[in-house]
C-alpha cells in the first residue's frame, strides 16, 4: 500500500495494521525518515515538501510493485508526507514484511533507495540565508544503483 499525505502518521499503529492477521510473517523491517535541523553547515528552521500529484502515487506504486516482484513479501507500505515540516517531524516511512528477515531487510532498503531517486518530491528549506531548494546528492543515485539487476 502507498499513501501520500500532509498529516503525520503513527509508526507503531501502521506496523500493527500492516501485519495484522497474517501469521506467516516472520519479520518486518521499517525505515522512518525524519527532518534534520542541519544541512550543509546551515541551520534549518523548517522545510516545505512539494510533489507532483498523480505522478507521485504512480511512481510509489511502481516501486512497491518492483519490490514485491524481487522479494517474497507478505506486506509492504510506503507513506510519504508533503507540505510544511519542522525539524524532528517524520517525512517518510517504508516497511516490508516477509517470512524471512533477509527479504524484509533488503526490500525495505530498496524501497527507500528507489524512492529517493524516482518519487517526484522536492524540498525547499528555510535557512538562515533564506529559502533554498535542496540539491540532489550523487550518493543517492549511487545508493539506488546498487539495486540495478545484473
Amino acid at each position: 500500500m502507498i499513501r501520500v499525505q500532509r498529516e503525520d502518521f503513527d509508526t507503531g499503529a501502521e506496523l500493527q495494521k500492516l501485519t495484522a492477521g497474517n501469521t506467516q510473517i516472520g519479520g518486518v523491517t521499517c525505515f522512518v525518515g525524519v527532518v534534520r535541523d542541519m544541512a550543509g553547515g546551515s541551520h534549518i528552521g523548517a522545510m516545505t515538501l512539494e510533489h507532483y500529484p498523480g505522478m507521485t502515487e504512480k511512481q510509489l506504486m511502481a516501486i512497491e510493485a518492483e519490490a514485491r516482484r524481487r522479494w517474497p513479501l507478505d506486506a509492504t507500505l510506503i507513506i510519504h508526507r508533503y507540505g510544511r515540516l519542522d525539524p524532528g517531524d517524520r517525512i517518510v516511512m517504508c516497511a516490508a514484511a516477509s517470512s524471512h528477515r533477509e527479504a524484509s531487510f533488503e526490500a525495505c532498503h530498496f524501497l527507500i533507495d528507489y524512492l529517493k531517486t524516482k518519487a517526484p518530491f522536492w524540498k525547499l528549506e528555510d535557512t538562515e540565508k533564506g529559502a533554498k531548494w535542496v540539491a540532489a546528492e550523487a550518493r543517492d543515485n549511487k545508493a539506488a544503483a546498487r539495486w540495478l539487476e545484473k
Binding site: M55, K58, L115, K116, A119, F121, W122, W133, A136
Partner: protein, 83 residues
C-alpha cells in the same frame, strides 16, 4: 500539450503550468525544451543548464530523445529530493 513546472523551474519560469502548441518539427522532449527557451527570459534562464533538468511525459520519467505526441502531459523539474 500541457507543460508543468516544479520547484525552482516554476519559480524561474513564473508559471506552474501552461498550454502550448509547438510547431511540427518539435518531435521530442529535447526539441521541446529548446523551443520553450524562447517563450520568455525566465524560461531561457530556467532551461539554461539541462544537466539539472529532469523530464516526465504522462507521469513517467523520460530522456530527452523521448518522442512527443499531441495531448501529452510534459513535466519539467529538478532532480528529485524526497525521502
Amino acid at each position: 500539450m500541457k507543460i508543468l513546472y516544479f520547484a525552482w523551474l516554476r519559480a524561474r519560469t513564473g508559471c506552474a503550468q501552461e498550454e502550448v502548441s509547438p510547431p511540427a518539427d518539435v518531435t521530442n522532449v529535447g526539441a521541446l525544451l529548446e523551443w520553450l527557451k524562447q517563450r520568455s527570459p525566465g524560461h531561457k534562464e530556467a532551461l539554461a543548464d539541462l544537466t539539472v533538468v529532469r523530464t516526465a511525459v504522462n507521469q513517467e520519467h523520460v530522456q530527452l530523445d523521448h518522442p512527443l505526441k499531441a495531448g501529452d502531459e510534459v513535466a519539467l523539474f529538478p532532480p528529485v529530493t524526497g525521502g
